[in-house]
């Protein structure tokens, strides 16, 4: 029961200190959007992100635009006398093959990278969705109901976090043989990600729960469900959105790492990590083959990270820690 002092925050601008260009009646969301739009880094990374998403969504048509399907061999594009080296400079980049071809097989890299984007982003997004949904549900339940629910859920979070996740994922993926790889990868990656979200949400819920406006809702006669959906959930959504955006690059990296190690999606389905794994052997003879999927992976991770950073700055200035 501390008494906040008037005059305690001399530098805090008094109310009404919103920039003049903000129309009255702007919701916190509108203000956040306005703030985001002012940042050039946000605009650039958002463009890159949208480009990748678009690429993944339209992969079949976009890939067809180059005239090759991802699994189609083109023996004419490689030199059979030079151990299957692509013909032409820069890994066989030509009007025919926009990003060159794979050595030996002559498969079109553009088609493979575009289809790889689809697989990589699908897994990353699906895993993120699982993580965010379970994490938010568990976090809110633990934070709001407290007591025994909190004890059980918190233990479960600690336990899950004690698992050596990468090693465990590799192990699980390697023992499961005849299952849909994409579904399996999504669920395995999702399994180890939720405690992070849950902790952030739990902390946020705990602090919201003790806000006076939640008390006010209770005094007004609102039940638990009404308070959860109208007061708590909108309150945690800001940090969750920021955290989600920062989660995606991690998911993309994890998928790539698993596929790189050969326990992810199986050939001939392309994914970035798996393409890089195949190209490592050629890094000296055909560097473009190695560089192209790496650059795509790098750009995707970078753009999502930058976007997430900006979102976190604005939606969750104190870092979501309790």
């Amino acid at each position: 029961m501390t008494t906040t002092a008037p005059g305690a925050a001399p530098e805090a601008a008094p109310a009404g200190a919103q920039a003049k260009d903000v129309p009255p009646g702007s919701s916190p969301w509108q203000l956040a959007r306005r703030e985001l739009r002012r940042r050039p880094a946000v605009r650039v990374s958002l463009c890159v992100v949208l480009l990748f998403v678009l690429m993944a969504l339209t992969a079949p048509w976009l890939g067809a635009l180059g005239g090759w399907s991802p699994e189609e061999f083109d023996k004419a594009a490689v030199d059979p006398y030079l151990a299957g080296q692509p013909l032409g400079s820069f890994g066989g980049i030509s009007p025919e093959h926009w990003l060159g071809v794979e050595p030996v097989t002559g498969r079109d890299l553009f088609a493979r990278v575009v289809h790889g984007a689809q697989v990589s982003l699908l897994i990353a997004f699906a895993a993120t969705a699982i993580v965010v949904l379970t994490g938010t549900a568990a976090g809110i339940a633990a934070g709001y109901f407290g007591g025994r629910t909190d004890a059980v859920l918190s233990r479960l979070m600690d336990l899950t976090m004690s698992f050596p996740s990468l090693i465990f994922m590799i192990a699980m993926l390697s023992v499961a043989k005849d299952v849909n790889r994409i579904v399996l990868m999504t669920s395995v990656i999702g399994l180890f990600g939720w405690p992070g979200v849950a902790r952030v949400v739990r902390g946020q819920t705990l602090s919201l729960k003790h806000r006076e406006y939640v008390d006010a809702a209770r005094v007004g006669g609102s039940g638990a469900w009404r308070i959860l959906t109208r007061d708590i959930l909108p309150g945690v959504s800001g940090p969750v959105i920021a955290y989600t955006t920062l989660l995606i690059p991690g998911m993309i990296s994890t998928e790539a790492a698993l596929s790189y190690l050969g326990v992810g999606v199986r050939p001939p389905t392309p994914s970035w990590g798996q393409m890089i794994a195949e190209s490592v052997a050629f890094y000296e003879t055909d560097p473009m083959y190695f560089v192209i999927p790496s650059v795509f992976l790098f750009l995707a991770v970078l753009a999502f990270t930058l976007l997430g950073d900006a979102l976190r700055d604005i939606l969750d200035p104190r870092g979501g820690r309790s």
Binding site: I167, I170, A171, M172, S253, A256, V280, L302, T305, L306
Partner: protein, 328 residues
């Protein structure tokens, strides 16, 4: 304090037990047959049954698990008759692939992984915290922005890409270093460091980038604390303010992540070790995956969990040393 330690150790045992159970379940319930793997490609049904009995796979699952657990503490004999193998304490299983107990394999490879992990940790702490603290103290300047853009970029590079580029640039093109092979620290300290330099760099770059981002944030937070203002009001030189008052509280949150990261790496950096061909636990693990050597996979998983849980405990105890408000 003692009571707290006991409780924590008990909890630690519980977590390890749970992890062992889950790992065990996955390997023995999921649709793969360790017996078939151990038996080889040309395997008659009778022989398969023999192998099954030999491995104890005909027994109920809980009994197998119980045997596995007691084996850890007392050692056990695997199989019967002329093929019987003695697996001494602490028995994590027996690798038929390598004809060695898993424990011996792990202990054989541990120095390599530990060398890699500790060396990289030193490097990334210097680089990452240096960059993070510098950026925090010069917040919003060009230095800060350059460092942070660099950090985001470095964090976005996959470790296998960096590793390959390092091998290509430093070894192939410049010819500065030999292709890494492991030298023992005690026998050849210079060779040890020289050969590990590239793997350290590759691994440290990624972590340094993450630590730079983290430490910048927590350092900015620490330097905004009112007690920093008090220290300045006392007329302390800025250097002392930063080092004595800012750093200690600013670096405390880093400890938690560091514990987790180091713990995780001790049981092997799978990708780095594979690319650089270092005979550590990570590569052992990767090899075991390829050859379906499940006792080894199980052993590595348990060891990794053990390191993480212990690292967490150590971090929590260190907190009490650093922060007098934490009392057990």
């Amino acid at each position: 304090m003692i009571l707290y330690l006991l409780r924590r150790l008990l909890a630690l045992a519980g977590v390890l037990l749970a992890i062992a159970a889950v790992t065990f379940l996955i390997f023995y319930v999921l649709p793969t047959d360790p017996a078939a793997a151990a038996c080889g490609k040309t395997c008659s049904p009778e022989r398969l049954a023999d192998v099954r009995a030999y491995l104890g796979l005909d027994k109920p699952l809980w009994e197998q698990f119980a045997h596995f657990l007691t084996g850890i503490f007392t050692g056990r004999t695997l199989g019967t008759g002329q093929y019987a193998v003695q697996c001494d304490f602490p028995c994590l299983g027996y690798s038929y692939e390598n004809s060695l107990p898993v424990w011996d394999l792990l202990m054989d490879r541990l120095p390599v992984s530990a060398s890699l992990a500790f060396g990289a940790a030193v490097l990334w702490l210097i680089l990452g915290l240096g960059a993070g603290v510098t950026a925090a103290l010069r917040k919003d300047t060009a230095t800060d922005k350059a460092l942070m853009v660099g950090a985001v970029a470095a964090a976005s590079l996959p470790v296998y890409f960096t590793s390959v580029m390092l091998i290509y640039g430093v070894i192939r093109i410049a010819g500065l270093l030999p292709y890494p092979s492991y030298h023992e620290l005690t026998a050849d300290p210079l060779g040890w460091a020289g050969n590990l330099l590239l793997p350290w760099t590759a691994l440290a770059l990624l972590y340094a980038a993450m630590y730079a981002r983290q430490s910048r944030g927590s350092m900015i937070e620490a330097m905004a604390e009112p007690y920093i203002r008090t220290a300045r009001a006392k007329g302390m030189p800025e250097r002392t303010v930063v080092v004595k008052h800012g750093l200690r509280s600013g670096m405390t949150p880093i400890l938690t992540i560091f514990g987790m990261d180091l713990g995780g790496l001790l049981a092997g950096a799978v990708i780095t070790e594979s690319i650089f061909g270092l005979p550590g636990i990570g590569r052992l693990f990767y090899g075991a995956l390829v050859s379906s050597d499940q006792p080894v996979v199980l052993g590595v998983t348990l060891l990794a969990a053990f390191f993480i849980v212990v690292a967490n405990l150590v971090v929590d105890l260190l907190y009490a040393v650093i922060d007098p408000r934490v009392r057990y």
